[in-house]
């Protein structure tokens, strides 16, 4: 692998990992609300969460640009408060990847939370555990296979995100040019075919590895339960 290819790979991994690291907690919270919450706007929340899955990615990317761009309300707010800027930065690519992967993260977590026998939590409370402890010792461990499945799916999605990313933060080598964007750029140039194929092979290996690793981890978790 050439230096440029390693750089693309590392950048993609950084973007996808950051996307997962920042969306896992909100995704769990939303999954919890959808699985356990009894409130009026539940159906609406479900629809909004699924939106990135059904909207054209370009629309999502444009929405992010309007909200989080250097002139956008949220973008300016975050810039002034924390000094975080998203416009044409890798952080923007991570944000786009995180938003696009969000519904894929929420769904398996929601399903695994719904599958938990509430009677087990009740049993824990009769044994003296207060709710945060019940959550940490019963709910969370039992939801773990779902969390794992969600993270793997989300990570794969984040690694390959294209439409929203290129719309929001463009295609800047070394900054926002992740794996898919690099393949796309190479295919635009007449002598990029061979290099593009190498990146395509690399992404297949990565995807396969991620799926196999998650299968193995899921089986290890499942063995006990």
């Amino acid at each position: 692998m050439s230096g440029a290819e390693i750089e693309i790979l590392l950048l993609s991994a950084k973007v996808a990992l950051a996307a997962m690291a920042f969306s896992i907690v909100p995704a769990f919270a939303v999954a919890w609300l959808l699985a356990r919450g009894r409130f009026a706007g539940r159906a609406l929340l479900q629809a909004v969460v699924s939106l990135p899955l059904v909207l054209p990615p370009v629309v999502t990317g444009y929405g992010l640009l309007i909200l989080f761009g250097s002139q956008g309300p949220l973008g300016r707010f975050l810039e002034s408060l924390f000094g975080i800027s998203f416009a044409f930065r890798w952080t923007g690519a991570a944000l786009a990847a995180g938003v696009m992967a969000f519904p894929l993260l929420v769904r398996p977590i929601r399903l695994s939370l719904e599958a938990i026998d509430r009677g087990l939590e009740e049993a824990a409370s009769t044994l003296g555990a207060w709710s945060p402890v019940v959550f940490l010792t019963v709910t969370l461990p039992l939801a773990l296979p779902g969390v794992l499945a969600g993270v793997v799916l989300g990570f794969a999605k984040a690694l390959g995100e294209f439409g929203a990313t290129i719309t929001f933060v463009s295609n800047i080598p070394g900054e926002t040019q992740t794996l898919s964007l690099a393949i796309y750029a190479l295919m635009q140039s007449p002598e990029g075919d061979a290099a593009a194929l190498r990146l395509i092979a690399l992404s297949i290996v990565l995807a396969l590895g991620a799926v196999l690793a998650s299968e193995w981890a899921a089986r290890r978790l499942q063995r006990r339960v």
Partner: protein
């Protein structure tokens, strides 16, 4: 330990629950048909089911008082709850399940893990996971887990009903051991007369969410409306003599005595006997030359025909006895209330319901 006093009103599905009773140390059975509201009452005591009005307290420890606005969460009620389906934590080993109340519930225990493990015969299973245990083993772990929560009150919701007959027989001795050993109030929900006869010191009969009767196992289970197809009588008495050669024992019951074939009985101990109505024959005069060892002089207090058989309620002294004979025999003997008869019971058909130490 102060008795648990319960006075509650609430809804359970389609009907109203309104019960009032007390449970002192020892086993109090909540006994009644499925759907009578027994389990809901237990959940209300545990704090996992809503209740509208009332008061639940053990001495100065108040769990619930609608007037004072007290409603302790389940974790603060100092209870141990054994669920019908066990509800073991599937991701934790038997050891971690047993000690859950210690490491997650912060309950300091007076009981040691190894004592409970020995009491319930769980030493070989500590490192296994619930999925790999048999139904009976699972229920034993569930009982141990509740005991190790250092409960001031133990609540058991039909802990044997998910098991087949053989598994039940396997667990009952463990439950008896727990019942004999523990000094706290144990509330035991069941619709099974055998279980209640063996375990309960007191029985609260529940019907449609209300208390129908409170009394000893003998009083409640001997009540004719509880006698199912196979009616029976529970008698309490004291062992007065043991014949080791023949494996028989005599038990004093009221003024009379009953001989039964039984081993392991100790003179002076209290026992409960169960006599199936169909094992009691009736003669109008004392008989001679019979293999039947028990002949009790009784008075007929009720005769009720049920299809082709007749149920005869008898008394001897202050005790009651139920006999079931064919309608034909009853007619030929011309049995009627007030008649003096002799009840014949084979020693081998008297079962020991439970040994009270």
């Amino acid at each position: 330990m102060a008795p648990l006093e319960i006075d509650i009103r609430g809804r359970a599905g389609s009907f109203e629950i309104a019960v009032r009773f007390a449970a002192g140390p020892g086993v109090t059975a909540l006994f009644g048909r499925s759907g009578a509201g027994k389990s809901t009452i237990l959940k209300m005591i545990a704090g996992t089911a809503h209740l509208d009005k009332g008061r639940i307290a053990a001495g100065t420890r108040v769990f619930f008082d609608s007037e004072a606005g007290i409603n302790l969460p389940p974790r603060a009620r100092g209870i141990g709850f054994v669920f019908q389906e066990g509800r073991l934590f599937p991701h934790l080993s038997v050891r971690r399940n047993l000690t859950y109340a210690r490491w997650a519930g912060r309950r300091a225990g007076s009981r040691r893990l190894d004592e409970v493990v020995e009491l319930l015969g769980l030493d070989a299973h500590l490192d296994r996971y619930p999925r790999t245990l048999s139904g009976g083993e699972r229920q034993r772990v569930a009982i141990g887990r509740a005991l190790l929560a250092d409960p001031q009150i133990l609540l058991m919701d039909e802990p044997l009903s998910s098991l087949d007959r053989e598994r039940r027989a396997e667990i009952l001795p463990y439950l008896e051991a727990v019942a004999n050993e523990t000094r706290i109030p144990v509330l035991y929900v069941s619709h099974d007369t055998d279980e209640v006869a063996r375990l309960a010191d007191r029985v609260v009969a529940i019907e449609n969410g209300r208390v129908r009767a409170i009394g000893s196992a003998a009083e409640i289970l001997g009540h004719p409306s509880n006698a199912d197809e196979e009616g029976f009588t529970i008698l309490e008495g004291r062992v007065i003599a043991v014949d080791a050669n023949y494996g028989t024992a005599a038990v004093q019951i009221g003024d009379g005595s009953i001989e039964l074939s039984a081993v392991n009985l100790v003179p002076g101990n209290s026992v409960r006997l169960r006599i199936d109505a169909a094992d009691v024959a009736i003669a109008t005069l004392p008989q001679e030359g019979l293999s039947i060892r028990n002949q009790l002089r009784c008075e007929v207090i009720a005769v009720e025909r049920k299809g082709n058989s007749t149920e005869v309620a008898l008394t001897f002294g202050d005790e009651r006895l139920l006999a079931r004979i064919t309608a034909k025999s009853a007619d030929e003997l011309q049995l009627a209330t007030g008649m003096n008869v002799v009840a014949l019971i084979k020693a081998v058909s008297v079962e020991r319901a439970r040994l009270l130490s």
